[in-house]
């Protein structure tokens, strides 16, 4: 996660340490950090959910530098115990380095606990991803409730990690929507009718795809959808979509397929 896109850090201590004039050198650089958004002030609740979230990808976050985003709890009067919070995160092998989007009081408490205040840019919503077609009522549940999400600490879009992938292990059910911003989406269980999966990158479904799948939603025409068992209601790449009102045609139904764009044309082709 802390995949830094700069090699400059090595130059922090230049080749001649004895030259007093240049014993240090300061440079700006850009890092990609993980942001932990918290929606509660209760550390016990945070901890139990964190444990659950981390258990899904135990290695992924080991020693990851973490910025805590306070936006959702900024207006909660009860104080957040930052000392305990830091201890809690360290115990889970996370490395809290700073906070953002907090109140003045929270900043003070955070600094007292050894955390930096990152003011750079307020965390704005990631690029708007609008579903192309919304005949469905708003989802009552969005599976996009993870406590941990990734975002950039500095406004440098090139800092996107090379292999940024969201993996979902549970079935995605009618009324649910899962989004993978800035990344690929891999689903290991069924995507049921009435469910919607959306990715800025590619989509892989290693199970039946019965709902809607939209890949490359920010305009990536190279994005593709792969699925194990094709029964989709709708597929789309970069805004080009195809609806299967009466289910997919016989020659594709239940087959392993890939979906891609050939020019303006959306192709759904068997994989074998």
């Amino acid at each position: 996660m802390p995949r830094s896109d700069t090699k400059d850090t090595q130059d922090l201590f230049p080749a001649e340490p004895h030259a007093h004039e240049s014993a240090i050198e300061l440079r700006g650089s850009v890092f990609t950090l993980s942001v932990l958004r918290i929606h509660s002030n209760e550390l016990d609740v945070i901890e139990s959910q964190l444990v659950k979230r981390l258990s899904k990808s135990p290695q992924f976050f080991v020693n990851a530098p973490i910025v805590v985003d306070l936006e959702s709890v900024r207006d909660i009067p009860a104080a957040l115990d930052f000392h305990r919070f830091v201890v809690l995160l360290r115990a889970r092998h996370l490395f809290p380095v700073g906070v953002q989007n907090g109140s003045a009081l929270q900043y003070e408490a955070a600094m007292a606990a050894g955390l930096a205040v990152l003011k750079g840019r307020a965390m704005k919503e990631p690029p708007a991803i609008t579903p192309l077609i919304s005949s469905q009522p708003d989802p009552i549940v969005s599976a996009d409730t993870e406590a941990v999400s990734q975002t950039q600490a500095a406004p440098d879009d090139r800092a996107t990690p090379a292999s940024n992938t969201k993996i979902v292990q549970q079935a995605i059910r009618s009324g649910q929507r899962v989004m993978a911003r800035n990344s690929d989406l891999i689903v290991l269980a069924a995507v049921n009718a009435g469910a919607e999966i959306i990715a800025e990158g590619n989509i892989h479904v290693y199970a039946p795809l019965r709902g809607r799948a939209l890949a490359g939603v920010s305009g990536d025409t190279q994005a593709r959808i792969f699925c194990h068992q094709f029964e989709a209601e709708l597929v789309a790449i970069a805004g080009n979509y195809r609806v299967f009102d009466d289910g997919p045609p016989k020659e594709l139904r239940g087959k392993a397929v890939q979906v891609f764009l050939d020019g303006e044309q959306l192709i759904v082709a068997p994989l074998d």
Binding site: S48, Q49, V51, V141, Q170, R173, S174, G175, Q176, A190
Partner: protein, 269 residues
């Protein structure tokens, strides 16, 4: 500490109340102290199916609003000594089922009961959300038809995202698929989804199949849960469900169309 079971479906009229009445009866018959709660505020059905409608004085909402004590509102079942019914209110508005109120009543019941069965209303509104919020286990009642399966799927999504267990990150609610009103003849004729279709679509473990049967309607009209009709396939199927729930393994039955034999045809039974 009681186990809280929600009987839910999303879709209406699929057999939730029938199931709540029979499952709670089956648990009580096996010696577990059981309470069954009607969350269908405004409609009130469970007391009719359990045949205790005339004895309703106070209801669930009265207890939530501190107008009655829990023990004043609980009605002892006429067949089983250790089964109690907490009826729904017929008049009040649905928002009366607050999370705090429901939680408080369930907490009070938890200490002295083994099982608490929550009969959910149809839909995905307040009553249904409260019925499932505190659940430890869930019976997903599903008829073998596309719309029912779709609604069950949606309810499963809610169980997995908006229940207390989901919100606090504890062990997820244990889900059991119960297919009801199963008509093997109509499945064979292609008019209904097969059991396999339903299982494939929902992907949760099957706890039983209740056949479509006229006895169910007779039973509810007479206020006796159908599980008491131990000669009827539907009563037996509910007994199997309770046995499986308690860990027994019993083969599924009533999956094939009944081929009336000569004698039966003769006597028209």
């Amino acid at each position: 500490m009681a186990t809280i079971i929600v009987v839910t479906s999303g879709k209406g009229g699929v057999g939730k109340t029938t199931t709540s009445a029979s499952v709670s009866t089956g648990l009580a018959k096996r010696g577990f102290k059981t309470a069954v709660i009607d969350f269908d505020v405004g409609l009130r059905n469970l007391d009719l199916v359990m045949g205790c409608e005339r004895r309703v004085v106070y209801d669930f909402v009265n207890v939530i609003q501190n107008e009655a004590l829990l023990k004043q509102a609980l009605i002892r079942d006429k067949h089983c000594d250790n089964l109690f019914i907490l009826p729904a209110s017929q008049t009040r508005d649905k928002e009366a089922l607050s999370k705090e109120g429901v939680g408080r009543v369930l907490d009070e019941l938890r200490d002295s009961f083994d099982y608490i069965v929550c009969d959910s209303p149809a839909g995905i509104e307040q009553g249904a959300l409260m019925a499932l919020y505190f659940a430890d286990e869930a019976f997903i009642v599903t008829n073998p038809e596309v719309s029912s399966v779709r609604d069950s799927d949606r309810i499963l999504g809610i169980l997995q995202a908006r229940s207390k267990r989901a919100e606090t990150g504890s062990t997820p609610i244990k889900e059991h698929l119960l297919v009801t009103r199963y008509s093997p003849r109509r499945v064979e004729a292609g008019e209904m989804l097969s059991l396999k279709d339903v299982q494939d679509l929902l992907g949760i473990p099957l706890i039983g199949v209740i056949p479509e049967s006229e006895v169910v309607l007779q039973a509810s009209n007479s206020g006796v849960p159908v599980i008491h009709f131990d000669q009827s396939p539907s009563g037996q199927a509910y007994d199997d469900v309770v046995a499986r729930f308690l860990g027994e393994s019993r083969p599924m039955r009533f999956l094939e169309p009944e081929r009336k034999n000569f004698l039966r045809r003769l006597f028209g039974t």
